[in-house]
Amino acid sequence: MHAAVIVFPGSNCDRDLAVALESAGAKVSMVWHKDTDLPAGVDMVGIPGGFSFGDYLRCGAIAANSPICRSVVAHAERGGYVLGVCNGFQVLTETGLLPGALRRNGNLKYICKPVELRVEDCDTVYLRGYKPGQVITVPIAHHDGNYFVDDAKLAQLRDEGRIAFSYVNNPNGSVADIAGVVSKNRRVLGMMPHPERMAEAAHGGTDGKAMFDGLMDALALA
């Protein structure tokens, strides 16, 4: 699998995401936001955490309009895989590839701590290494992770089984405890928690590793 990790000014989890993908066996190319094209043959794009463009205007809004994001949207529309973590999730909602928006945390605080996530019954390659209902521990580190969708969209996400992860104890006020959602074709996943920060023993846990391994297995078979 060939993965591209996008680097914006202010990204700070780009290397972590690259290391997690490489550990799973992927070839990883780092791609600067001013590039207009993804490297040829990229199967999967990772949009990392951080504070792209200093969170100016809205988290992810400027990044979502950067040159490379037009190629990321085209990649997704061709059926390519995209994983957005934290700021990457914010960028994906701003591009419109994923529904909803991320608001300021309900308690107005930046929250940085491990949280328990429930793996939902969501048919996507990202969750192949988990069982529905399984509870995993993965860190969050965000100020604006309070997920919002309106009631109609929430009903649609539920009907279509597109909620990937829920918080066991909602830390930020997200609608329906949502921590991550997938696109209609299930190939774009956005999530606030950081699986790449729980991917090897030195991190204090490996609950995030199965996501990268599952993705790798699925794409190796494709």
């Binding site: 809004a61 928006a101 608001r103 919002f148």
Partner: protein, 75 residues
């Protein structure tokens, strides 16, 4: 010419910053503040002849996230 764009969270979208400001005003002894909503104002210096329709397009594409925000333009 100048334009001002007012961006606010939509009615029905919880505004935790507005709620915190309301709470702080109450703590300072200002009674009767029944609600606070916090938004932002964006001032644009525009070339003569720029239409409100163009500013509207700027709002839709970048200045506001219409999933959660509404906007109002003053030209």
């Amino acid at each position: 010419m100048k334009a001002k764009v007012y961006v606010m969270l939509k009615e029905g979208v919880l505004d935790p910053q507005g709620a915190a400001v309301q709470h702080a005003l109450g703590a300072l002894g200002f009674d009767g503040v029944e609600g606070v909503r916090q938004g932002k104002v964006i001032e644009l210096d525009l070339a003569t002849g720029t239409t409100e329709a163009t500013v509207r397009e700027m709002c839709e594409k970048l200045l506001a996230n219409t999933v959660i925000e509404s906007y109002r333009i003053e030209m």
